[in-house]
């Protein structure tokens, strides 16, 4: 039987399938772990409503814990409070940057805050460090990322959107 600490450490080795630079724990989606007898209950808060990775993550969590000898894994979904990219810690943000994804800037909008049209963020290219970058699309290869391009090194890069 695993202790809760051991289970947390184990899940910290489970990468997000779409952003493998960070673990599901670093992403902040594992909300609670409860170990009782031979059962571990894992409470997960999904990121985007339509994130196709959500179910893959559930399977990966289950497989990882079962492989470590846990008898039974219960997965629970908790929607409230909604996941926010603010829950990604500093160390994980650096891992994202090193992987080529600019981490979310600032705080995610809360409450009634509205986005403002045509206000472009200045992002620093994660490859060459130039600030001469432009947004190609608010939507990238996955729901959580936008697509940018560096006008200095001419490479495209991704931006993890604050949400």
């Amino acid at each position: 039987m695993l202790t809760e600490d051991q289970a947390w450490k184990l899940l910290d080795s489970v990468p997000d399938p779409e952003v493998p630079a960070v673990s599901v724990v670093e992403l902040g989606i594992i909300r609670e772990l409860h170990c009782a007898d031979d059962v571990i209950t894992v409470v997960v808060t999904p990121t985007y409503s339509g994130c196709p990775a959500t179910e893959v993550i559930g399977l990966a969590i289950r497989d990882t814990l079962l492989a470590a000898g846990v008898g039974k894994v219960e997965l629970q979904t908790r929607l409230d409070p909604a996941w926010t990219s603010d829950w990604i810690g500093e160390a994980a943000r650096e891992k994202l940057r090193a992987y080529g994804i600019v981490p979310p800037t600032g705080k995610a909008a809360v409450g009634g805050a509205q986005p403002i049209h045509f206000v472009k963020k200045t992002l620093t290219c994660p490859r060459c460090g130039s600030n001469d970058t432009e947004r190609l699309s608010e939507f990238g290869s996955t729901a959580c990322k936008a697509t940018y391009r560096c006008k200095s090194c001419l490479e495209p890069f991704e931006y993890f959107k604050p949400i």
Binding site: V44, Y48, S49, G50, C51, P52, T54, E55, G58, L75, Q76, T77, R78, L79, D80, P81, A82, W83, T84, A108, A109, G111, G112, Q114, P115, H117, F118, L136, S137, E138, F139, G140, S141, T142, A143, T147, K161, I163
Partner: protein, 260 residues
């Protein structure tokens, strides 16, 4: 993953109907947007429209699961999405009309995502805690949909002669359907009285205050209101709905109970 929903009081018919309207709007618009996959004018828009479709289908899953729980007849999200007949869908008619072109798709996304922002903000404090949680989460996604579509409405409307003409035609076509969003009806009245959510008509002034300046900036002319009425949210759909459902439901009706 298992959806855990705790509903202590039996839901009223109006409450269920209200949640189904939300779920069906998300589902049907998600289906329409997914039709762009592989066909959008540029690859960035292909990704954007597919991503928005995913968000909407994800919201539809949560909402229809919730509606099924409230109903208490054991219907899950798949049964709700794939095994209902046309007259049982509660989406507004605007969601089901064909995409036509990028202009109409963009204007529809703009009209609806604006409405979504206002609605999700209100529903985030709903007395239905599951609905409130879905709303708080969906609001974040709606903001991105709004931002994206608003920028495109301006770019297309205030663009070339061709993009302006197509976007104006899209607005002329879709505008009469927006009256359905705000039309008074007993479901909304009951839900509003029970503090579950706003009657949609309460949102009309705020909605106009958000959409009209964008259309003005886009140099588009908003048509005058006409007597035209559509009734999708009451289950009376346009001729387009059957075709959409035939495509969407094909797999589940051919292989009942199939899982993928």
């Amino acid at each position: 993953m298992t959806q855990t929903s705790v509903q202590t009081v039996a839901a009223s018919a109006e409450h269920i109907e209200y949640v189904m309207r939300l779920g069906d709007n998300a589902l049907i618009l998600g289906q329409r947007l997914s039709e762009w996959c592989g066909h959008a004018p540029v690859i960035e828009e292909d990704l954007a429209l597919a991503n928005m479709a995913l968000d909407l289908v994800g919201q539809a899953r949560l909402l229809l699961t919730h509606a099924g729980n409230l109903e208490g007849k054991g219907r899950d999200e798949d049964q709700m999405a794939f095994l209902r007949v046309e007259r049982d869908y509660r989406n507004i008619t605007m969601m089901e009309v064909p995409n036509e072109d990028f202009g109409r798709t963009t204007v529809r996304n703009f009209l609806y995502s604006t409405f979504q922002i206002l609605l999700w903000q209100k529903l985030a404090t709903s007395s239905d805690t599951e609905l409130a949680a879905i709303a708080a989460k969906s609001l974040k996604e709606a903001r991105y949909h709004f931002n994206h579509s608003a920028e495109w409405v301006i770019r297309l409307g205030d663009g070339t002669d061709v993009s302006h003409a197509k976007t104006q035609a899209a607005l002329d076509y879709l505008w009469p359907y927006t009256a359905e969003l705000f039309a008074a009806n007993p479901t909304d009245e009951a839900v509003s009285a029970a503090a579950i959510g706003p009657a949609w008509g309460e949102l009309e002034a705020e909605w106009e205050a958000m959409v009209l300046p964008v259309f003005a900036q886009a140099t588009l002319v908003v048509p005058a209101r006409t007597p035209f009425k559509s009734f999708g949210k009451f289950g009376r759909h346009s001729e387009h709905m059957g075709h959409l459902l035939a495509t969407m439901q094909y797999m589940q009706r051919t292989y009942p109970g199939a899982q993928w």
